[in-house]
Amino acid sequence: MFHVNHPMLFGLAALVILFVLGQSIFFTVKAWKRARELGMSKSLLASIVRGSAVFSIAPAIAIIIGIITLSKFLGLPLPWLRLSVVGALTYELPAATSAATALGISLTDALTDARAYSTIAWVMTIGSFSGLTIITLFLPKIEKGLMSLKSKDEKWGKIFMDSLFIGMVSAFLGMIFSEIRLGLPGWIPVFVMAFSSLLMLVFGYLVKKKNIAWLENYAMPFSMLGAMIFSIPLTAWIGGSR
């Protein structure tokens, strides 16, 4: 009998996740060896490992909330799989919603129809293939283009890369301001962002002027966590719905 938390579904999800975990370990080991070949010190690499691990904790916990949200409807295995690999809630939720709407069912109760579940699983899977396909097929070409650009003019190549990053950051900064017309509660994300920037500046000062070198590695995750914590009293004080 099918149900959304069937052991077979857990087994399948676990299998796929183990594969992806194996791939992550493989690339991590290769990257470590490569970095050593390039002359980077073990202590630097170890600090990168620690910093990246700390950095990932808060976003990963936020992803668990995504699993909880989806699991009420889809059970645990499918959201666990989709959010452990390939996806992000910003994609998986619309995909599940789109399929559920097409099926004429609501996202509030646990699914019982195996074919409806299968439809949703297929939509979520097929709908997420484009980035992976492009990278798998064309990444060498994309990189070649970039290399030729850099070999022509190294300084411009560096500015070009920075511009790409700035493009990404500016789009998200804009998004953070998208609710300010709703009044003071709409400003909460802006204040949270400003607080995160402020913490980053303070940490930068401590690293550079006070020579607290170890802090550099954690400046970003600490700024993020600090700003997240700051949002709790701030929201209580302003009284927003966020």
Partner: protein
Amino acid sequence: MSQYEKKIHRWGRISGILAFIMFTAYPLLLSLYFNAWPYLDALGKGLLGVVPIFYTVGVIEAFTYGPMLGAGGSYLSFVTGNITNLKAPCAINAMKVAKVEPGTPEGEAISTLSIGISSIVTTIILFLGMLLLSTLAPILESPLLAPAFANILPALFGGLAVVFVSRNWKIAVGPMVFMLILFIVQPGLANAVSLLVPVGAVLAIVLSRILYKRGKL
């Protein structure tokens, strides 16, 4: 291309194809096992609702994040997902801390290392989260903590902005002001932020090209 680069592309492609097969295995095997094939009309309609937008986003992400994250980092992050909200910022931060430039062999190694570690840590945390779900759910879903998780992106990009603005304020001002105005005038665009990443990137590239040609950078 160096020996390492050749190898990383080979590994990346093999693992990409394997990932493709593994991801398809879940719906395929469950369909076989439960003899539950999708309702075709709902499958079509459901895909119509996501493919036009998310395939576009996927293509854009591949072309913007690909150069940023380097070969190993890209192959890995497009399989492990959560790129914008986790892998890309994590790799950017790691490259900054290690004082290496993206797009160089050193940058590529550090980016791949940090994305690999981030994927491993995330997988472990999600596994633990799932095991302890009944204990964790009331805590994580409590109204007290809700604002912290609702504001994770502003908390993340606030710190990141400092890094980039301080390094390149001349390039940063234009795209940022443009995006601010755009989102304030059209708040609905918040749902399509991924589509605006390349718009910001093109704008930043054009502006910096003009400044560069005039010798202002």
